[in-house]
């Protein structure tokens, strides 16, 4: 068995240079709830592990002056749940992150890990996409920003350049009348992987949808931003016709596979069903906000 180097840098610069130096053999460790499992299964064999949990910026939750949030990429779900205001502004994003695993897993699992693990079924990702979140990335060539939906490249692959680390998620300020929600279909009631996941974020003014974003998970190689579904909702009062059109757009956007967790026909159909149910919850929240 080859030895593994474990590093726990205190600054982002150190982490980036250690990561770059390790070249292909390096792996970032946030909560480890994917990485350690994959190592034990022999799927990955890193030479160097760079633990990012000691870097302040990556474990902090900040509120921006304009009312937005910056969430460190390594903040565990349980910590985010305890924030006094985040869940009020983004109940959908929070419920998506808190759906990951069990109480034990929540003590570790992060949104950054969920995104960078690049599973099409990651629960927080469709909610983040619907929220219009962007990630800040730092690498050997400095900082840049990407919309969340631009990070995954395919199952287990991201568009991060070698040596790049996701630092944080930036969620925009919330206009009045906004609400978001996330629902997933799993055969069991918990401890399962999404067969379809759907995030919806709405802003409603005088009963009319002013802005909408829809994220869909587990129906394509990457989490999808479904712009056609959003278009069908904007300008509507969420009448049946608008919801039917949005549901149809979701089903049309699906490019799923048959696997042990679901069939193509099932996922395609359920994507539309979940859109309607998720939109209803998001709308209730928007009307109450």
């Amino acid at each position: 068995m080859a030895d593994i180097r474990y590093l726990a840098p205190r600054t982002l610069d150190e982490a980036v240079s250690a990561y770059a130096a390790a070249a292909g053999a390096g792996r970032i460790l946030a909560g480890g709830t994917d990485l350690i499992v994959q190592m034990r299964a022999g799927m990955v064999r890193p030479g160097t592990i760079i633990d990012i949990k000691k870097i302040e910026e990556m474990t902090a939750i900040q509120e921006t002056p304009d009312g937005g949030f910056v969430i460190g990429a390594a903040v565990p779900g349980a910590v985010l749940a305890e924030h006094p205001r985040f869940g009020k502004a983004w109940p959908g994003v929070l419920e998506a992150i808190n759906l990951i695993g069990s109480t034990q897993v929540q003590g570790r699992a992060s949104a950054g890990g969920n995104l960078c693990n690049a599973s099409p079924a990651g629960d927080s990702v469709p909610a983040m996409v619907a929220a219009g979140a962007a990630v800040t990335i730092q690498g050997p060539d400095g900082r840049r920003s990407l919309p969340v939906e631009a990070v995954p490249a395919g199952p287990g692959r991201t568009n991060l350049a070698p040596g790049e680390i996701v630092v944080s998620f930036t969620l925009p300020p919330r206009p009045k009348g906004s609400g978001d929600a996330y629902l997933r279909m799993i055969p069991r009631t918990e401890m399962d992987i999404a067969v379809v996941g759907c995030g919806v974020n709405l802003t409603i003014e005088n009963g009319v949808v002013k802005a909408a974003r829809v994220g869909l998970g587990a129906v394509a190689p990457t989490v999808l931003l479904v712009e056609d579904a959003a278009k069908a909702l904007v300008g509507s009062k969420l009448e049946d016709a608008a919801l039917d059109a949005a549901a149809a757009a979701c089903s049309a956007a699906c490019r799923p596979i048959n696997d042990k967790r679901g069939t193509i026909a099932y996922r395609t159909r359920v994507a539309g069903v979940l859109l309607k149910r998720t939109a209803a919850i998001a709308a209730d929240r928007a009307r109450g906000a």
Binding site: P187, T189, D192, K260, V270
Partner: protein, 757 residues
């Protein structure tokens, strides 16, 4: 709790009490020692090389490179395991050693992905795993077949040249036929006939503890095995047969067991570890990973069944025919007697033909799982009965009552029934508030609800049991039995022994002996252990009480006949016996040595008189028709439990069986990829229900004492897993108006079916 008919429990202090379980504190504090917890000085680790192919001829195995790797101490292959030639069957219980020796180490062929090919022992688990990769196996890869329907096609790849069916090479390795009356005439006589075909996938027992053992082959040739199983004597006997070491040189010590449900009635690792230990001269430990457990140990079989039942207009059943194909796995031996014998046993049907086929295919060899095979037969039969009742406009429970087998009827599997308690279980459900409560069928848009019922039968069993009862010098009681405790047998035996001695329950300690410290005791399985060991513990205790009376008789210088035993004391039986102050167990123990020596005895017996178990269940389900998700809302399970020695355990058995049935019906299945490799070898994608998936299951314990048992005990562990598959399918039909004949009723299947007309 719900206890009905408790006639003779009055006056009992411990029998029927919910005493604290003897294994509880150790289990909740993490102190209980399971199989993988044993460590020995000088111990090394064994790992198994497994077949990467679903079906392949093994041309050669070259272990030389592995043997040269630093840290490797021994390598074994099938050459080190005793060969049982194909032409002669050697049985141990229901297991044929021809198949067991090939299951433990592949011989001519690799028969499934994960089949053991060789094993290595090394100074670390990592080195052993590394060495496995250095073993060179020359395979001739053969076409494989997984599903029953494919395996019985005429052009299917044949697994075994020696298997013939109807004169031709075949994957049908065995048949079982039971019949009564004239089936043709019976159907001619029927006003209505319903015939349906059902199928299901293999399912896992879901025990948490993977198979594990530590084995020491000492310099004098004596072997000690620490492992977790449902029978230390089975471990000893099977290891002896597969290694050629006499039983007297093998001591099998049972560890605390982390679940078995039938799966641990056979072994995989012990003979291999013995040979690795023998070759290396070091103690060897082997622990399966969860993935190995799922790929290579035995689940329950998949099934393909056709059931045809004919009835008169008034619901009288006149003919029943069942054809049951079970998926044995790579080697023969599926539990045909489950569906063939149990499916129609609860009913008085004059004309029956019940046929089972044992079908081999390229997946791991099946093992027992609670009421082996019976749930699969009941799934088909009880769904067809539901359909007949519906078509005739009869209440499904009334129809079952009308057709219940009665005392004196000859069971299709042979014996003449004594008192049959099936009708009581049906009646208990019929009168229960669950069954009589109205059901809101459309509580919300997109949601439909339904209610279903089904019944089940299991043979139950007696068999060999040994119980030693010793009085300690300080006047307390130590009981040793020979059965691993998977369902609360220690707690139940403690209740019985405390009751008979008339002493505080805390003063009785019940332990499980190893093969060197207690007489032969058969497997924990078939719902036999509480029945058998309570019977034998009663005999042992009565003998010891006899000894105690003799001691008192000696002290008082009167006749032992003139002494009675009561509340933990010897007393003169009446005024004629004389007047003496009582002698307590403690006083008698203190004087044991000067009055004739230590007090204690062992009784060993092949017990008989295990009456069958009957169960009737009622379930409400809710279907989300847009997602195809079925949830169980309410579940009530009535069962004749004979006598609940420890009611919490009896309830636990019923609830556990039901939960396993719910998983079988709705979400559990082994899924294979195109290459014949198991695609969901772990608990994430092998979907057993979690706590939040099931409601509180309400057991109705009908205490109708078994007249052939001193406490009235009847086996309770298997019957509760028999009805759920059909009860749930019938409830889903009630909700949706569509019959589901294929398990599991997983969401994609449900949506697909809803889209069909």
């Amino acid at each position: 709790m719900n206890v009905i008919n408790k006639p003779d429990v009055i006056g009992n202090k411990w029998i029927g009490a919910r005493t604290i379980r003897p294994d509880g504190a150790d289990k909740v504090t993490g102190r209980a020692a399971y199989a993988a917890d044993n460590v020995m000085p000088g111990m090394i680790w064994g790992k198994v090389l497994r077949s990467p192919h679903a079906h392949a001829r093994i041309r050669s195995i070259d272990t030389s490179k592995a043997e040269k790797l630093a840290g490797v101490k021994a390598v074994v292959t099938h050459k080190d395991i005793v060969d049982f030639p194909l032409d002669k069957s050697v049985m141990l219980g229901i297991q044929d050693m021809r198949w067991m020796c090939r299951n433990v180490m592949a011989r001519e062929k690799a028969l499934f992905h994960g089949h053991p090919i060789a094993a290595v022992a090394a100074t670390s688990e990592e080195i052993a795993a590394e060495a496995c990769k250095l073993i060179e196996v020359d395979y001739e890869v053969l076409p494989h077949v997984i599903d029953i329907a494919d395996a019985i096609r005429p052009d299917a790849p044949i697994l075994h040249d020696f298997v013939q069916f109807e004169g031709k090479p075949s994957n049908i390795a065995g048949t079982m036929v039971l019949k009564s009356g004239d089936i043709e005439a019976g159907f001619k006589d029927a006003d209505i006939i319903v015939e349906r075909t059902f199928d299901s996938r293999p399912v896992h027992q879901g025990y948490i503890e993977p198979q594990a053992c530590t084995v020491s082959y000492a310099a004098d040739g004596r072997v000690t095995i620490w492992s977790s199983s449902q029978g230390q004597f089975m471990v000893r006997a099977m290891t002896s047969l597969l290694t050629g070491i006499p039983q007297s040189d093998i001591r099998a010590i049972p560890a605390e067991i982390g679940g078995g449900f039938g799966a641990k009635t056979i072994i995989y690792l012990e003979p291999v570890a013995v040979m690795l230990s023998k070759k290396s001269g070091r103690p060897v430990k082997m622990v399966m990973t969860r993935e190995e457990v799922m790929r290579a140990t035995g689940p329950a079989p998949g099934s393909l069944s056709t059931v045809k039942i004919g009835a008169k207009k008034d619901g009288t059943l006149v003919a029943a025919q069942g054809t049951f194909y079970l998926q044995a796995g790579g080697l023969p031996g599926s539990p045909l007697r489950g569906p063939v014998g149990c499916s129609f046993a609860a009913y008085a049907i004059p004309n029956v033909l019940s046929v089972g086929y044992d079908v081999v295919s390229n997946r791991s060899k099946v093992a027992a799982y609670r009421a082996p095979g019976a749930p699969l037969g009941a799934f088909a039969t009880e769904c067809v009965l539901d359909e007949i009742a519906e078509k005739l406009g009869l209440d499904p429970l009334e129809m079952r009552l009308k057709n219940s087998a009665r005392e004196g009827d000859k069971a299709i599997y042979g014996p003449v029934f004594g008192h049959v308690t099936f009708a009581e279980t049906v009646d208990a459900i019929r009168r229960h508030p669950h069954y009589t409560a109205p059901l809101d069928r459309n509580p919300r848009p997109g949601v439909k609800r339904g209610r279903g019922v089904a019944s089940g039968f299991w043979y139950n069993a007696g068999g060999e049991s040994s119980v030693q009862v010793n009085i300690t010098e300080d006047g307390n009681v130590v009981v040793t039995t020979g059965h691993p405790d998977v369902g609360g047998s220690r707690a139940s035996i403690a209740n019985v022994v405390a009751e008979l001695f008339g002493i505080e329950h805390k003063r009785v300690s019940v332990l499980i002996g190893d093969t060197a410290t207690i007489g032969f005791s058969n497997l924990t399985g078939g719902s036999r252990v509480t029945f058998a060991s309570a019977m034998v513990a009663t005999l042992s205790t009565e003998k010891v009480i006899g000894q105690l009376k003799e001691r008192a008789a000696k002290i008082w210088n009167i006749d032992a006949e003139a002494i009675k035993w009561q509340d933990g004391m010897a007393l003169p039986a009446g005024d004629n016996a004389g007047k003496f102050p009582p002698l307590s167990l403690k006083e008698l123990a203190a004087r044991a040595n000067d009055m004739g020596g230590p007090i204690g005895t062992q009784v060993q017996l092949n017990t008989t008189g295990a009456d069958p178990g009957f169960a009737t269940h009622c379930v409400d389900v809710e279907v989300d028709v847009d997602l195809g998700i079925i949830r169980v809302l309410r579940y009530t399970a009535a069962q004749d439990v004979g006598r609940a020695l420890h009611p919490s355990y009896v309830e636990g058995q019923i609830q556990g069986g039901v939960v396993q049935g719910i998983g079988w019906a709705l979400s559990e299945e082994y899924l294979y990829d195109r290459n014949g490799k198991l695609d969901n070898a772990g608990f994430l994608d092998y979907r057993m229900p979690v706590c939040s998936d099931v409601p509180m299951i309400e057991p109705i314990m009908l205490e109708i004492p078994n007249p052939k048992h001193p406490q009235g005990v009847r086996g309770v562990g298997e019957a509760p897993i028999v009805p759920p598959l059909a009860a749930i399918a019938n409830a889903v039909y009630d909700a949706l108006g569509k019959r589901f004949t294929s398990l599991p009723m997983s969401p994609p299947k449900v949506l697909e079916r809803l889209e069909q007309p």
